[in-house]
């Protein structure tokens, strides 16, 4: 029973990870850009939720819905102004550019909100019992919200015009250009959606985690690890990678005495290096670039 409970906790954490990584994974898959500022968008979403909660008592889950359009616009503009300039250029450039962007965002937030830790306490924090298991209320809610959003995203990519364009751009950039697609607009829309989703994840995580301007890098690295595990640009891959990481972290913490929690953090990094070195295409072959040169 303790084992099953631990597994359940791991799955709940993993569901969030899978959702958090989506934006990162899709940007990488579609544009071949590694978004080093990923964690910072999580942070921005979390601050958005915190600010609305403090000012008007708006629930973080409502904020999550509100933050999407806002960050969609931000993502669209950033892509249009900055990233599109380097998307055709070597990786080094976009890596360094995003690196600079992530530092700048974090420090702008530090100037605005100071480095103090913030948190959001919702009235329904706590847990409930179900079939002998203890379920943390907020994490369960996040888990199901994550599944719903993943489903919505899947439907969007499959059935809408824009979704199809994004998939086309991911599969074959040159062909997409040839049939007259404005690839830069598709990229901008993709970035908008991805950054919007990432900020949503941030808003949802606000009630379960302390918020600070420097919380981002850890999310970025975890996003790498999950993408390496699960594969690139695929929703089921993201979910699978997230679940693996969540479960491994949780079980290690419980079953390695004394230092388990530390091993848990170290393991995601070691796992990442290991997967990269032994199976550079990712566990599900998902890291293989969709197009030569992507």
């Amino acid at each position: 029973m303790p084992f099953l409970q631990a597994l359940l906790n791991g799955i709940l954490v993993g569901g969030f990870y899978g959702f958090m990584v989506l934006g990162f994974s899709i940007i990488w898959g579609v544009m071949g850009i590694i978004n080093l500022a990923h964690g910072e968008y999580v942070m921005v979403g979390a601050y958005f939720a915190w600010a609305l909660f403090r000012a008007m008592g708006i629930d973080p889950f409502v904020s999550a819905l509100l933050v999407f359009p806002v960050m969609f616009v931000v993502g669209y503009v950033l892509q249009w102004l900055l990233i599109n300039r380097v998307v055709e250029r070597p990786h080094l450039i976009s890596l360094l550019l995003n690196f600079g962007l992530s530092i700048s965002i974090a420090n702008v937030y530090k100037l605005i909100y100071t480095a103090d830790y913030r948190s959001v306490t919702v009235p329904y924090s706590g847990s409930f019992e179900l079939a002998g298991f203890t379920l943390p209320t907020i994490k369960t809610a996040i888990f199901f919200a994550a599944l719903a959003i993943m489903l919505a995203l899947h439907l969007f990519l499959q059935h809408t015009r824009l979704g199809k364009a994004i998939r086309a751009a991911a599969q074959n950039k040159e062909a997409a250009k040839m049939v007259g697609m404005d690839i830069h607009r598709v990229y901008a829309a993709t970035a908008g959606i991805c950054i919007g989703l990432t900020a949503m994840a941030g808003a949802m995580v606000a009630p379960i985690q302390p918020i600070s301007p420097f919380m981002g890098p850890l999310f970025t690295v975890k996003a790498f690890a999950i993408t390496a595990l699960g594969g690139l640009g695929r929703i089921p891959g993201a979910l699978l990678g997230g679940l693996i990481l969540g479960i491994v972290e949780t079980l290690l913490t419980i079953y390695v005495p004394g230092v388990g929690a530390k091993v848990g953090t170290a393991v995601s990094f070691i796992l990442l290096v290991f997967v990269l070195v032994t199976r550079p295409q990712g566990l599900l072959s998902g890291l293989r670039p969709v197009e030569e040169g992507a």
Binding site: P2, K139, Q209, T250, G260, G264, A266
Partner: protein, 429 residues
């Protein structure tokens, strides 16, 4: 191939010249020079010294930016409060028959070990300070105190609690705060008296919490509790549910979490999530901070925390009055209630002042002897350094959050409320 080595030459020479030239080349940190005396460097200061009353120069590198920006800010405000009081109200430090004004030089160390090293050297060799006050955090204090030790300059500090600071055999380092190993003593004693028989301990793996945890294990055993588990967690932890779920299986009477503000919030929240309800929940740094209550709401109820100092403690000293009077003075000056980091910083500077007055001279060795001989009670509590420079006289307090109020429950002589034990389970709140 010709031009860039040339430019490099020019730049490097320029750099060397700038470093070597006698004029103050480096600007102090913005707002760094919080001196009461207008002049800081160069000729002005020399003139000022001739005309104005005598001046004691005291320096400190305190984080204004970086990881410790927040606690460093409190430390800084505590130092400045003391300086303004001693210069404007008290009339300057009494040395023999003379009154000395204090010139306090504060720099921002950016929470960066390289910067704290450099600024401490600068304070000693360029600003020629006679005494040093400590930076914030044990790690930075370690780096800075090695330098002050070399120059045999006294450093009194109030923000590095790790016991290992005092195991290096330093002669010129003194700390007014209760060392980390004793943080949980009075709280655990109160809990043992109330009937607690077992405990689990979780600590963040950095110097201060580790000392706290080692102390907690020792005190718990001494007061007859069984320690069921001691776990450490990483500094950048962002989810402790697994840890809490593990403790839930052990079903202890007391949980002790040793860390800093942010992980305290996280531990409390995750304990609630997995419904881990010990009979007492103790966290080292968070609970004594009013923001902890604000952030956590009802979850913070009945959480116990050790505290170096609280405004409702019963201490009273000849300088700055009672703890409550100090708090009011602080609020008036800074527009916010003092944290204990602020209070211990003021007490740090106050201890130095008392030692100088006792010695009646600015001679380092005499002041050092005075520090060793010192046995006083201040608004902050008793101060009496042992031969390693630790202040073992001051008992650590323990507070419990009751109805949103931070109330002292131990030790008995400072308590204002009774311990609530066992605590209300999370679900029944």
């Amino acid at each position: 191939m010709r031009r860039y080595p040339l430019l490099f030459t020019v730049l490097l020479i320029a750099a060397l010249v700038l470093v070597a030239c006698p004029a103050p080349a480096t600007a102090p940190a913005t707002g760094g020079q919080e001196a009461a005396q207008p002049a800081a460097g160069g000729q002005e200061a020399a003139q000022a010294q001739e005309e104005m009353p005598k001046v004691i120069r005291i320096g400190a590198a305190v984080s204004e930016t970086g990881r410790y920006a927040r606690e460093g800010g409190d430390t800084r405000q505590g130092y400045i409060l003391w300086m303004e009081w001693v210069n404007n109200e008290y009339g300057g430090i009494k040395v023999g028959d003379e009154r000395y004004q204090v010139e306090l030089i504060l720099y921002d160390d950016e929470s960066n070990p390289d910067t704290v090293t450099r600024l401490t050297e600068k304070l000693i060799t360029e600003d020629k300070v006679q005494f040093l006050l400590g930076p914030y955090s044990s790690g930075l204090t370690k780096a800075a105190s090695a330098i002050s030790e070399k120059y045999q300059i006294i450093m009194v500090e109030g923000n590095g609690a790790s016991d290992s600071l005092f195991e290096r055999g330093f002669q010129y380092l003194f700390a007014v705060l209760t060392p980390a190993s004793r943080y949980t003593q009075s709280g655990l004693k109160a809990l043992a008296d109330a009937g607690a028989r077992s405990a689990v301990i979780a600590y963040k793996d950095s110097p201060f919490p580790k000392s706290v945890a080692q102390g907690a294990e020792q005190w718990a055993q001494e007061y007859g509790m069984e320690v069921l588990a001691v776990e450490s967690y990483p500094a950048d932890i962002n989810d402790a549910t697994a840890l809490m779920a593990k403790f839930k299986e052990l079903d202890p009477d007391v949980f002790v979490g040793a860390g800093h503000f942010v992980d305290g919030v996280l531990l409390a929240r995750n304990a609630e999530e997995v419904d881990f309800t010990p009979k007492a929940f103790m966290l080292t740094v968070g609970p004594s901070n009013p923001e902890f209550v604000e952030e956590l709401g009802k979850t913070s109820e009945q959480i116990i925390g050790p505290t170096q100092w609280e405004r409702n403690m019963a201490w009273e000293g000849p300088y700055l009055g009672t703890a409550e009077e100090y708090a009011q003075r602080y609020e008036k000056r800074w527009g916010e209630p003092p944290t204990y980091q602020a209070a211990e910083s003021t007490a740090t500077a106050l201890a130095l002042q008392i030692a100088i007055e006792m010695a009646g001279t600015l001679e380092t060795d005499a002041v050092r002897q005075a520090l060793l001989d010192m046995d006083v009670v201040t608004f902050y509590g008793p101060i009496n350094f042992d031969e390693t420079g630790k202040n073992l006289a001051k008992p650590m307090g323990a507070i419990q959050i009751q109805d949103g109020q931070i109330l002292v429950i131990a030790p008995e002589e400072a308590a204002v409320a009774d311990l609530v034990y066992p605590m209300t389970p999370w679900k029944e709140r």
